[in-house]
């Protein structure tokens, strides 16, 4: 018997294959330019390596957020803060340490930035652990407000950090990543690196969901009481997934720092945190694939509006935000479970067709009575 595990594994491997194929085909076409064909020309400069790298980086953040929100049912309105910690730790340690000759022989090697990425993830994870312990006792609105506050605090530290964070101007001169003499730059090289990491993160996300831990998390989302009486340590699991999602955000932040070569407070404030939650929601809450889908959708809509709004309506500037808001609202009205839901429904339909399975007649029981 195949079993659900077998099926979902099969579907995920298929999905992964298609996904990787898209990434590879795009990368190759843009690099080789067969017959002078380039996506950036075909799409009027909308889909470029730059856009896709940003999509890849944010996909890493949103996969983590999706695990936290979609599977464990815990909201975080401060995720951009962890993203910022990753970016700033990378920026600070990769610029200041060599400049001030801290750790000579280490901080000036090619592997120092890589080590810093790991350090940043551990720092962010440790911070999320200490914060998560008390904060995750809160539920719903209260948790949202607490994480929101946390995000604002982190943003303020980035902005007011003086010499350490560079204030409004931030930190510039962050080196590119390299292995020995091979530097991940120009941009197409960085594209491969970012998407390799993003795909690894997606695979890790899928593995976590289809595991003992993932089932525990989904159980919490469905019925916390039942989960706990089945032996799932709900408090501990919430903290664990909070830490994991923060570490993913930190990893993405480091990749962002080495991509921009400049880190300033802008992308780590409250609005970016809300945007991240929107991306997760639009893509589909309980879906790792939804993460990539949501981020891509978000970016493309933004880019299309930026490029075309003035042509369509003869207006420009801030009006793109209105169009953007309307599209988000429409998606949430017509696909409340997100874009990936439509795909999942189609798959389920195909599957039922194939097996000709009869799910028993659904009876509902009008019963709400509860002793005391």
């Amino acid at each position: 018997m195949v079993g659900e595990e077998g099926w979902s594994r099969y579907a995920n491997i298929m999905g992964l294959g298609v996904f990787i194929a898209i990434i590879v085909v795009f990368g190759l076409i843009e690099t080789i330019e067969p017959f002078g064909l380039r996506f950036r020309d075909l799409t009027g400069g909308m889909i470029t390596f730059d856009t896709l790298i940003r999509i890849g980086i944010l996909t890493i953040v949103v996969v983590g957020l999706n695990l936290l929100m979609g599977y464990a049912g815990q909201i975080s309105l401060g995720q951009a803060g962890y993203y910022g910690i990753g970016a700033y730790v990378s920026a600070i340690l990769c610029t200041m340490a060599p400049r001030h000759h801290l750790l000579p022989g280490i901080s000036d090697t090619w592997w120092w930035p890589w080590l810093v990425i790991v350090v940043a993830m551990l720092v962010t994870g440790g911070f999320a652990y200490l914060i998560g312990k008390p904060i995750l006792r809160l539920r719903g609105m209260y948790l949202a407000m607490a994480t929101l506050g946390l995000g604002v605090v982190m943003y303020t530290v980035f902005r007011e950090g003086g010499g350490l964070t560079g204030g409004h101007d931030g930190i510039s001169g962050i080196p590119r990543l390299s292995i020995g003499n091979f530097t991940f730059w120009p941009i197409e090289r960085y594209y491969w690196l970012v998407w390799a990491v993003a795909i690894a993160v997606i695979i890790i996300g899928l593995n976590v969901i289809n595991s003992r831990v993932g089932r525990g998390l989904r159980a919490i989302e469905s019925s916390e009481v039942a989960a706990s009486t089945m032996g799932v340590d709900t408090a501990n699991y919430k903290v664990q997934i909070f830490v994991l999602s923060a570490m993913m955000a930190s990893l993405a932040g480091s990749l962002y720092a080495h991509f921009q070569a400049l880190v300033a407070p802008g992308p780590f404030g409250f609005v970016p945190s809300v945007e991240l939650v929107c991306m997760a929601a639009v893509g589909g809450m309980a879906s790792v694939w939804g993460a990539a889908l949501g981020v891509t959708f978000f970016f493309l809509v933004k880019e299309v509006l930026r490029a075309r709004m003035h042509q369509l309506l003869g207006v420009g500037g801030e009006y793109e935000l209105i169009g953007y808001g309307i599209i988000l609202i429409l998606v949430m009205i017509f696909m409340p479970q997100g874009l990936s839901f439509g795909g999942a429904k189609a798959l389920e339909w195909l599957r039922n067709l194939k097996v000709f399975r009869r799910a028993g007649d659904k009876e509902t029981e009008p019963r709400a009575e509860q002793a005391v």
Binding site: E5, N207, A219, V225, S228, T229, M230, G231
Partner: protein
Amino acid sequence: MGGEVAGNAILEIGDLKKEFGGLIAVDDVSFDVQRGEIFSIIGPNGAGKTTIFNLISGVLPTTDGEIKFEGDVINGLKPHVVAGLGLSRTFQNLQVFNNMTVLENVMVGRHLQSSYGMMSAGLRLPGGRREEKEIIDRSMEQLAYVGLDSMADVGASSLPFGQQRLLEIARAMATEPKLLMLDEPGAGLNRPEKEDLDALVRRIRDSGVTVLLVEHDMAFVMGIAERIIVLDYGEKIAEGTPEEIQSDPEVIAAYLGHEEIRVI
């Protein structure tokens, strides 16, 4: 019926009390459940039966009194710790995990019988994969035990009501409990389903698991339980064998006050 009582208590409840605000839901209730028996708690709606389950399983904190499981005091322990001691339960208002398949629901029940964590899961380390195979095999066995193995891949929420009850039992049994607490397992079932449930509960008991049963259906309880306590307004008003309970005037009065008692 089911052989002689083993003579050692698996669960000892002493002067258990629970107040919600000013309302006393459970008032100084004491009883012992012997290893290997089917013990039932009955009583009219609002008598405090489900509250007692919530107290024993650690879902609600006790106000006063003592709960001993295998001789150790377990009040104040968190639900997942209580589950780890070998105490599992089902829910009167179904708490099936609707976002999972039937098989995955039971696999959650194997949580404590496995141990691999986030790291092993994310990287699919061999230890975790070995455990995962074991989890699937054991869970399929549990599904076969309650007769749901053919529904393994179906989304749990699409199961008919009666089968969701069975799924909860399979999930609880997957934890390999010493004491299984069933909260109105027969509610909403039709007659043939109830007969199957009767047989299933006996099979569970015969496999060495003690059963604590809260139930409304008198015919069902009187047929299956070896000992019964009766609650009314949070107080224990009677304790004994089904025969003793049926002839107890206080019990009859309590039931006549609420609903009709149908005795076989």
